[in-house]
Amino acid sequence: MSAAAALRAKFPLLVANPGLHYFDSAATAQMHRSALDAVVAHETGARANVLRGSYRLAEAADRAYEAARQSAARFLNAAADEIVFTGGTTAALNLVAQSFGCLLEPGDRVVISQAEHHSNFVPWQMLRERRGVELALIPVLPDGTLDLASLARVIDDRTRLVAVTQCSNVTGARTDVAAIVAAARRVGARVLLDGAQAVQHGPQDVQALDVDFYAFSGHKCFGPGGVGVLWGRAELLAAMPPFLGGGGMIGAVTEEGYTWAEPPRRFEAGTPPIAQAVGLGAALDWMMGLDWAPIHARESALCAALIDGLRRIPHVRLLGPEPSSARAPIVSFDIAGLHPHDICQVLDAQGLALRGGHHCAQPLLAALGVEACTRASLALYNDEADVAALPAGIVRAIGVLK
């Protein structure tokens, strides 16, 4: 059995659909059996609300939820009390924009990039409207990578936060995080990394990355949907006011007012996504047990083969940087005269699942000069058969559509 086949065998949806060529892991990765099993085991064996229940079931739920927090902390090489469970990356980014955003003053600058997903774009535009902060953009180069020559100009001494993606969800372009961090540190700014497109390719080390906030989603890294993680440095979280008010986030409440709980509870108002967090913990535990070097080598080789196969098709314009090692295994392309939704519809009929459109990155697409594009994204369960099927499927789609 090949390495990919052995991995696929652990993904129930892929086992149930042997003819499926799944190329949409950048939107939602398939769920690993350990995560699914952990959710079922939790819901059937330890389902209760967390916090302050004294019966044994509630204590079991507390232990499972806190164990998931420990897993997320190990996955990021961080302390558990710096891990906030959220509804997903979008919720995590909005939390920072709201809570850290409260600490900013008119005239302060927030820097993002042109390559951001709308979830790391719109919350900052909303903050600009709310607080009068200035929003500045790191432009992209024609290959979708960030224009590092602009950093000294864009990240000026009014900058308080630089919030950028670790990899583009459209081009796969990897951000030179060290360059961003160095530019931010020169002016005393904090750095937030959107890890939504990085976590499906292995554990991360926020200490080595030297960032201040890190956000990701469970459904992008083989876990359940509806749960995500915000990591923040302890001293930053401690200084931030709560975002949502409700149960769990308070110290005490009187008719006159309330006090805040310490982080991470301060940022987890209401009943959290408990079983989802437990499932995410299981997915992260599984990922931490893998040997990632050969997986990365295979993902990178498949990505290069995919680029090669697509390049041979007339009228296909590939987006993103070369060589393929400069990107996460994501390949987006435009075919002159054909709309991505039509392409995806015909690919679907051949068992190929791809996404077409603006990929929630309209500013990036505008900068790259395309209205919409078709995206193939790879994860550890993709194999040579997938990569061989896509160019053939596209040639057939062109035949149907032209």
């Binding site: 709309h339 039509d342 679907d348 009929a349 051949q350 603006h358 149907v400 559509l401």
Partner: protein, 162 residues
């Protein structure tokens, strides 16, 4: 190639039948209409289809229609069909055609006798995510007529006038 794939390919070939491609290529009514009494731009925000459409009316009837449509084949074919068929219709005629198209997509009903061309969209009925692509030009035309009939009343909501 499996039997399931052959069946699916048959379905998708029906979806993109020659009539759809012919209308899309012909792009009847393409271009911005100068001196129009109403102008509407509509987007399908989830898929990125976009139409900019203008009409000129005389005594409540469409005498000219112009549109610029960026989108998928289904959206462009629908806009082109309106470019060909809308002149001569009044608001009621457009509403009747739109209702017939919705019935084709959502209930699998046959096209009415005076709108046989709408039958080319029947295979899109099986793909709920594509209904909005087909309907976008009809929605834009309905708004444009409403705008013309209301004089220069502003269009509110997510959509905006040019």
């Amino acid at each position: 190639m499996s039997g399931a794939t052959n069946a699916a390919m048959g379905g998708v070939e029906a979806l993109y039948q020659e009539a759809i491609k012919d209308y899309s290529r012909a792009d009847h009514g393409h271009g911005r209409l100068d001196g129009a009494v109403a102008s509407v731009r509509l987007d399908n925000p989830l898929c990125g289809d976009r139409i900019s459409l203008q009409v000129r009316l005389d005594a409540g009837r469409i005498v000219a229609l112009g549109h610029e449509t960026k989108g998928c084949l289904l959206c462009r074919a629908a806009a082109s069909l309106l470019g060909k068929r809308a002149p001569g219709l009044d608001g009621q005629g457009v509403a009747v055609a739109t209702a017939a198209l919705e019935a084709i997509l959502e209930q699998g009903r046959p096209p009415p006798g005076d709108w046989p061309e709408l039958g080319m969209f029947a295979p899109a009925g099986a793909h709920a995510s594509r209904h909005k692509c087909v309907l976008l030009p009809f929605r834009a035309l309905a708004q444009a007529i409403g705008q013309a009939e209301a004089g220069s009343a502003a269009i509110h909501g997510a959509n905006h006038r040019e």
